[in-house]
């Protein structure tokens, strides 16, 4: 069973957020660029295995939020597929407190 989670995040900027989450989860994000992901964004993991994507909640095509249900959050963290959904959630909730909120949790 693999989980796919979405977190909403508050921060002043994406770069510092990547550093903070990296410390909390013990990972190092790689800087990426994609017009589909709001330009500059961060990614950790390997395709097909565990992946984490940290990006702006911004759609460049129509210049609006990507996750319209969660427009209040300026940044999004997509986690999945992962086998350690609970561990990641506990770390983020404990160490980032109100700056991180679990918005969606799916299991396949």
């Amino acid at each position: 069973m693999q989980s796919y989670d979405l977190y909403g995040l508050y921060s002043d900027d994406l770069d510092s957020l990547a550093g903070i989450i990296g410390q909390v989860l013990g990972i190092t994000f790689i800087p990426h660029d994609s017009s589909y992901r709001g330009g500059a964004y961060y990614r950790f993991g390997t395709p097909g295995q565990e992946e984490l994507i940290l990006q702006r909640n911004y759609d460049e095509i129509d210049q609006e939020v990507v996750e319209s249900e969660f427009g209040a959050y300026p940044f999004l963290l997509y986690v999945g597929p992962t086998n350690r959904s609970r561990e990641i959630r506990e770390r983020l909730m404990t160490q980032m407190k109100a700056k991180a909120t679990l918005l969606r949790h799916k299991v396949f």
């Binding site: 979405l6 990426h32 660029d33 589909y36 500059a40 395709p47 097909g48 799916k106 396949f108």
Partner: protein, 247 residues
Amino acid sequence: MVYVDPSGHDACTGVAGTYEPDCGVDGWYGVEDYEARQKLRAMWEQSRKEAWDFFGGIVALIGSVLFEPIDWAVTASDCLSGNCSPLALVGLLPVIPASVANRIDELADTARAIPHGFSSTDDFQAFGSKLKGGLTDAGYSDAVAAFQGSSVTGVKHTTGQPFDVERVSDFDIALASPTLLARAKELGIELRSGGVRTRPLTADDLESLGLSKLAVQLSQSAGRPVNFMIFDTLETAVNRAPSIVVP
């Protein structure tokens, strides 16, 4: 007494509702429906703009004819210095304007263009074959794919930096398919732009659509992540952003 007066025009008498008499001080005479009047004014402004655009095109055409000798000389000079293609060379023939031949040359460039991140046309075609085969296997044989983003423009949209400099540049691929869009809608994947496209597909979207394995295979093959967005038609996709259609 209730005035409906959104533009601040000078009404002579007060009449409730959207109908309102006017003294003509702002070019509006008599009693008319204010909203209808505003729509008519907007239509007039639009047609006036279109007329200007049309005549602007004619002026540009006349200009190109008048300056054709200069264009011919520049093309000839480029060709003498070896800086032109055989198609541009055709423009030196007296019957074909150089500007037309240069335009044909540009179109030929576009047709043979390959996205940044591929070392050769063969690599691009091999990637395209995998993509099309994977889409067909997943039940989306009507899908047409087009590269978008910095792999097409060569620069990052937000920073202007070249492709793959300082950050890994992903492959952003539009998938144009009514079948795929309908399936996405069935699965509850959010549609955007009035229902003509999805948001960028997330990992769980890909899983639901049966495209996870394909995305992983393509990412491994390209050595960089592949991101998908579904559009209703190829026309919608290429009108949204510079694109290179997968052959």
